[in-house]
Symmetry: C2
Subunit: 145 residues, 2 copies
């Protein structure tokens, strides 16, 4: 289930294969969005994607960008990161990892925390199923405010 996190732009054919393997019909717009997304490991908002697909290649509507990001996240091609109540971020890095969020700059960084250990979690009901654990370190670059 591990997908290549290419550091170069993927070809259209590669994106199409990637989408197919995840049960997603590869349409023009989705492939276009996929090329922008999977060119490298990154964190994007819908706004980012919208701006970049407008630049290079054919334009994609706002609604389609939103729908596509949601679809990709559902199908496991993206991980949604909830750090900012005002907008959604999506992470193309699917490896287990956590995040540093710089509250002053809005910058989001991946980190791997070696020593993270979740000890006993007694309050979890037996029938509950854990979907994931998010760890977010909130920091600021400038001291004070």
């Amino acid at each position: 289930m591990k997908e290549p996190q290419a550091s170069r732009e993927m070809t259209r054919a590669e994106v199409i294969g990637l989408l197919r393997r995840h049960g997603i019909t590869p349409t023009q717009q989705r492939v276009e969005i996929g090329r922008v997304l999977f060119a490298r490991t990154q964190h994007v908002s819908a706004e980012d994607v919208l701006a970049r697909v407008g630049d290079q290649g054919s334009p994609v509507s706002k609604a389609t960008v939103y729908n596509t990001l949601g679809l990709f996240a559902d199908k496991g091609l993206l991980r949604e990161v909830v750090v900012d109540p005002t907008r959604r971020f999506y992470d193309t890095n699917l490896e287990p990892h956590h995040h540093i969020y710089y509250t002053d700059t809005g910058e989001l960084q991946d980190i791997v925390i070696d020593g993270l250990r979740l000890g006993h979690v007694p309050q979890l009901p037996e029938d509950a199923e854990v979907e994931g654990v998010d760890v977010i370190i909130r920091a600021r670059r400038q001291p004070n405010r």
Copy 2:
């Protein structure tokens, strides 16, 4: 700096004292909102607060609820919890703790994780200042979907 987390409704006078100690001018509406909030440990959205101050006591406008929640959070009377991209939650529990978020029910629960240890975090720049660490366990009550 530790404040009493009363399990009973605070009197108006107690709320006024609490606000004053945090440098907040105690106005009628703020005291009203404070009584709703600090009656017990809880997680609330602006909508929750709006509904409850409408029920008991004098009505408070939507704008004032939003402004007041933001102010209380700034002044350290509430902790903002970012778990849901669609709305902000505020936690009256100021003790260090983490959260379980049930994605299917929208329920938010406090937990204390004994064994949580953040190991080496090499990627943090030296000049960066950590504001806090959020740990959110995403779970669902119903198996599967």
